[in-house]
């Protein structure tokens, strides 16, 4: 079942084309990786799909809703976590969960049961009433993802979720992503860590606003006759820029 459908999606800023006629579709339960150098158009694409940014042309639907006309319906069906920090550092862990729960329209009993569930799941019971600023970065990241999913959305957009996190925390984060995918959630993730690309079901590689490759990691490695996604990425980016 297709949950994200994109056709010729384009976004220009003045004369600059950030995203250039991009087309792809994402299946339910898939971990879809979005690779590319900085400025390749990953974030712009993700923002258009989340209803944060109007596309200039092309069509796109998320969870069956049109990005032009039904952005509010999309927002009810997605979780979004950006590379920028999304929690309030001057609120405690519990207050952050409660606030986002309230904003996502959860009822009071739902919020308290969700809070307990999340604190246990993230093993944050002891820090529940500590200011968010005081907990380690890796935990903050997982907490941020969990709060972005309080309303149990079927699709999750992650924009460079692991930048600035140590390798162990990164691994833990990806274990969390796997668990979510097993539950049938669709994960749409951008990254520039190539080892993370190996974990995706399919990856697309973007350059100058266009998608150059879109395949399973294994297929790409065979195609370019290399052992890692790192080498695939270098070859793809260098070949085209020569």
């Amino acid at each position: 079942m297709v949950t994200v459908e994109v056709e010729n999606l384009t976004r220009t800023f003045g004369k600059f084309t950030a995203v250039d006629q991009v087309s792809f579709s994402v299946q339910k339960g898939e971990i879809f990786g979005f690779l590319g150098a900085n400025g390749a158009g990953k974030t712009t694409t993700i923002r258009m799909l989340c209803g944060l940014l109007m596309p200039s042309s092309g069509t796109a639907s998320v969870a069956g809703f049109d990005v032009y006309t039904q952005p509010e319906n999309i927002k009810k069906n997605i979780g979004y976590m950006s590379q920028r920090f999304s929690l309030y550092e001057d609120l405690t862990v519990r207050e952050n969960i409660r606030f986002y729960g309230g904003v996502y329209g959860l009822s009071r009993p739902q919020i308290s049961s969700k809070t307990d569930e999340l604190l246990e799941f993230l093993k944050l019971q002891d820090q529940a009433d500590a200011l968010t600023a005081s907990i380690p970065m890796g935990w903050k990241q997982r907490l941020a993802l969990s709060t972005a999913m309080l309303h149990d959305p079927p699709i999750i957009f992650l924009d460079e979720p692991t930048s600035g996190v140590d390798p162990v925390s990164r691994k833990n984060f990806w274990l969390l992503i796997y668990r979510l995918a097993e539950q049938g959630k669709t994960i749409f993730v951008t990254t520039h860590f190539m080892d993370e690309a190996e974990y995706c079901n399919r990856v697309s590689i973007m350059r100058d606003g266009a998608i150059i490759e879109l395949e399973k990691p294994q297929t790409l490695k065979t195609k370019y006759n290399v052992n890692t996604m790192q080498d695939v990425f270098m070859q793809v980016v260098e070949k085209k820029s020569l």
């Binding site: 309030y88 609120l91 986002y100 309230g102 904003v103 996502y104």
Partner: protein, 374 residues
């Protein structure tokens, strides 16, 4: 609705967690009212004055005495000539010199109008004007006193039926400027807190990235704005009350009118300053920018409000512009309520103007505030 409550709860948590903020809310009104109340004064006292008395008569001495006993002037002594007086002015030893001509007493008694000359240091035009007014008052008083003595003059006066104007200030009897300044400070304080804090609190969330997160939630535009604005209305309300208390405790200036009228009018006024804050947040990328934008508008609002400069003194074109300034109406309203105890019914025009401007600014700014990124 529920979402707004969660937003409000969050805002208050953040406000209460910031100790400096609480100090600001309760300390700032006291400090502002004390310092500005004492410092901003249009009262002119102890103007250093010298007299050149060419007449040396009984009447001219009486004139000198009259100037030396009043609080308004500081009598620095007699000088011998006009040249000396000008020199003293040049050196800044005195701000005003009075020159009594030769034959002052004789001319006065004969009914020929003698002319006293006053030389005033006009560098500070406001004070100079006020000093001149005092000077006139004193000489009018003396004239009345002398009328009885000069038979010829009083006979003539009886024929002329000269109208004597005796001014009596009805609502600010001592014409103390603090009575005028303090309500003005309260008004600007409401403006400051609502315009600055609204702009900055929205832009701060943009800076740290939480605004982007809120934008992908199903929260609605109006909910987001109300959630931001309502806590700040409460803060401004607290601040106003602290200010009212400070004015009463420090200057003994308690409002004559109904406090609920003032609350209501303040709310109407705050609509436009909150709107200004929202507008600033839609234009600014950083908190500094938001502050600067709010500041830019506030300076004009204050200068063109009649707080310091009477609107009647402005060129007609500028006077026209002041009608677009909500603070202009609020300054009138808060002074009326404070000093005259004017009732709501008599202030409906100002209230209406503020309400219309407030709603327009608030709604237009809110429409500009989009849940999308640019």
């Amino acid at each position: 609705m529920q979402r707004i409550l969660y937003l409000i709860q969050k805002e208050f948590r953040q406000i209460l967690r910031e100790k400096t903020f609480i100090g600001l809310i309760f300390g700032a009104p006291f400090i502002q009212i004390v310092i500005l109340g004492f410092a901003i004064t249009t009262d002119v006292n102890h103007v250093p004055l010298a007299i050149v008395d060419y007449d040396q008569s009984q009447m001219s001495t009486r004139l000198s005495d009259a100037f030396s006993v009043t609080e308004s002037f500081e009598f620095e002594g007699n000088l011998n000539s006009e040249q000396e007086a000008v020199q003293a002015l040049d050196h800044g030893r005195i701000k005003m010199a009075i020159i009594i001509p030769d034959n002052f007493e004789r001319d006065l008694k004969m009914g020929i109008h003698p002319v006293i000359q006053a030389v005033v240091d006009g560098v500070d035009g406001n004070s100079a004007g006020v000093a001149m007014a005092y000077l006139n008052q004193i000489s009018i008083k003396l004239q009345k006193e002398w009328m009885q003595e000069t038979g010829g003059l009083s006979a003539r006066m009886r024929q002329v039926h000269l109208t004597a104007i005796e001014p009596r200030m009805q609502y600010n009897a001592s014409l103390e400027s603090v009575n005028n300044i303090v309500p003005g400070i309260l008004a600007t304080m409401i403006m400051l807190i609502t315009a600055f804090l609204t702009g900055m609190s929205i832009v701060r969330e943009r800076e740290i990235g939480t605004l982007e997160q809120l934008m992908v939630t199903p929260i609605r535009n109006y909910e987001l704005i109300l959630g931001k604005v309502l806590p700040l209305i409460v803060v401004a309300f607290l601040l106003l009350n602290v200010g009212i208390l400070a004015a009463g405790l420090i200057f003994g200036l308690w409002m004559k009118g109904n406090i609920f009228t003032l609350y209501f009018m303040s709310l109407l006024f705050a609509l436009s300053t909150l709107g200004l804050g929202i507008f600033a947040s839609t234009v600014a990328r950083t908190q500094q920018q938001a502050m600067f934008i709010a500041y830019f508008f506030m300076i004009f609002a204050i200068l063109l409000s009649g707080f310091f400069i009477p609107i009647e003194n402005m060129p007609p074109f500028i006077q026209g512009i002041t009608y677009l300034n909500p603070l202009r109406y609020f300054i009138v309203v808060i002074r009326e309520i404070y000093l005259k105890g004017t009732e709501m019914g008599l202030l409906w025009k100002e209230g209406l103007a503020m309400g219309v401007f407030g709603l327009a600014t608030f709604i237009l700014s809110s429409l500009r505030f989009q849940k999308r990124l640019e």
